[in-house]
């Protein structure tokens, strides 16, 4: 197509209507979140008297945050979430790229069946095996440890990671790898060489796996519920339940728990959205 068709005059109205609709829904999507953040910086009285106003010199207060830091164990929860998420992503990365490489690179009997086997977990929720996962974790003496969560999240993330990565790896030109083989590179070396080439897909897979792991409530609740091993999501859930009538504390802890994810989202929204569409459209 050479020249874009110009907007017909009559459709200026349509354009305005489209913007109005999008703006309205954006407001609906963001308003509740903004309202929480805004009021977390206000005194209790101001929260109820002027819920829509920005905090000013009279109404500004950090009392909620003080409660959260003195009564909650959020630095610990935060550290636990970081450990669990980073370790699980690392394992998904290592095991996922290796398996994807095997499926994409080599023709061997059972290749298709193996691909299908690893893809089964894309549609079946891992939660349904919880009764046996807990028994397994107990028998491995991993109950109430972060390691249990890491292993379960790795198993949960692998199917989609292997699926997306192997599709991507099939598109890498063969010449490159064959040239390395002629030079005497081992198959392990060839695998190592391909890793920099799949960076775009890798970023997508990592960001796409990070959010469900960070936000999960179910497995922390069942596999690692003690205070020392709580993730942020479970920690916030417990804290909010205890302080439900302390509005300052509730609003502040909601704001604090949302903050890290929102920052990551702002930084990585492109990869996330790409992961979402590449994972499901195919």
């Amino acid at each position: 197509m050479t020249a874009r068709p110009r907007t017909p005059l009559g459709s200026t109205l349509q354009l305005v209507a489209a913007h109005a609709a999008l703006l309205l829904y954006t407001l609906i999507a963001l308003f509740p979140i903004v309202l929480i953040v805004l009021n977390s910086f206000k005194t209790r009285n101001a929260i109820f008297r002027t819920p829509y106003a920005f905090p000013d010199a009279d109404t500004f207060s950090l009392v909620g945050y003080e409660t959260v830091f003195s009564r909650g164990n959020f630095p610990q929860y935060f550290a636990n979430s970081v450990i669990v998420t980073v370790c699980a992503l690392l394992l998904i990365f290592i095991a996922g790229t290796m398996a994807a490489h095997a499926l994409a690179e080599y023709k061997f009997p059972g290749n298709a069946i193996m691909g299908l086997y690893l893809a089964l977990g894309i549609m079946v929720p891992i939660r349904l095996g919880t009764v046996s996962i807990l028994r397994l974790v107990v028998s491995l003496k991993l109950v109430d440890t972060l390691a249990a969560l890491i292993l379960v999240y790795t198993a949960m993330g692998l199917p989609l990671a292997v699926f997306i990565l192997s599709q991507f790896m099939r598109q890498i030109p063969r010449d490159l790898k064959d040239a390395a083989r002629v030079d005497g590179a081992s198959e392990y070396r060839v695998y190592w060489m391909t890793l920099p080439l799949i960076r775009p897909a890798l970023g997508t897979v990592m960001v796409f796996n990070m959010i469900p792991i960070w936000n999960d409530l179910w497995f922390p609740l069942i596999l690692a519920p003690s205070d020392a091993n709580k993730t942020v999501t479970l920690g916030a859930q417990t804290f909010l339940g205890q302080f439900v009538n302390d509005y300052n504390a509730v609003l502040s802890s909601l704001t604090l728990s949302a903050l890290p994810v929102v920052i990551l989202y702002v930084l990585f929204s492109r990869q996330l959205i790409r992961g979402l569409t590449s994972g499901a459209v195919k």
Partner: protein
Amino acid sequence: MPSSRKPFPIHIVVFLAPAVIIYTLFMIYPLLDSLRLSLNTVDPATGNEVYAGLQNYQRLFTDALWQPRILGALRNNFVFFAIHMLVQNPLALILATLLSSRFIRGRTVYRTLIFTPSVLSIVLIAFIWRLILSPIFGKALFAPLGITLPPLLGEPATALPTLGLVSVWQWVGVPMMLFLAALIGIPDELIEAARVDGATGWGVFWRIKLPLILPTVGIVGVLTFVGNFNAFDLIYTSQTALANPAFSTDLLGTLFYRTFFGFQLQLGSPTMGATVAGVMFMIILIGVMIYMFTWQRRLLRNTVEL
């Protein structure tokens, strides 16, 4: 292709082993073992688990104590799913259609902002809305607008639809992105050709765009189905594991949790918990099968005819 005489190349085994071991041990084995467990029951005399056939499933659907719970959770889960299909997915399609127009400026900004609730944990979303709809803070919020807020989360008739809409509010960004990706993938030439032939905006949407994104419509449907029949966090956080008021918001996920772990006076039972998980597994399996054998096959046939 290596001939069957040659030994299986060891490097392939090395590459596959970590993923296959972790995935098999922590996902496939537990799923199968859980299904096996649902066919067992605890012998009261010895305390051992013994094979009991479909007895647990029969008990779940016929016992006077279990039947209302499982049927209630099933009914509620279908209502929850219906709300998502009727509100979330059409809304997502509308938003995606607007965002796919080349004439709209700031599309990326709208898209990113509308998606924001989907990246927050369900726990936070549940508390945010509980707060907004609460009798105290909610009153402060809605009184200036002249609205008297009924206790939406406290009444059995309104609690489930309200939570369904909260869930829609959180997740609408996901199908929106999927629809958007499909709509952007439609070649401009097709739409231009239809316009030259005199098709209006509506005509283009119904006769060109919608048929072309039908595969995505199917995927969104099946993802919604699996997600909804696996939902737990929102109800647990907002209404506790008892799915207040009076079990009116009980979904299969909360019933699974209560059955397995017990809650308050109810004792937990691994075998009955596995049975509820077995029912969820069957429902999800049937949903995915229906999708694969009707929707996908029909699409395949249509492409062949084209």
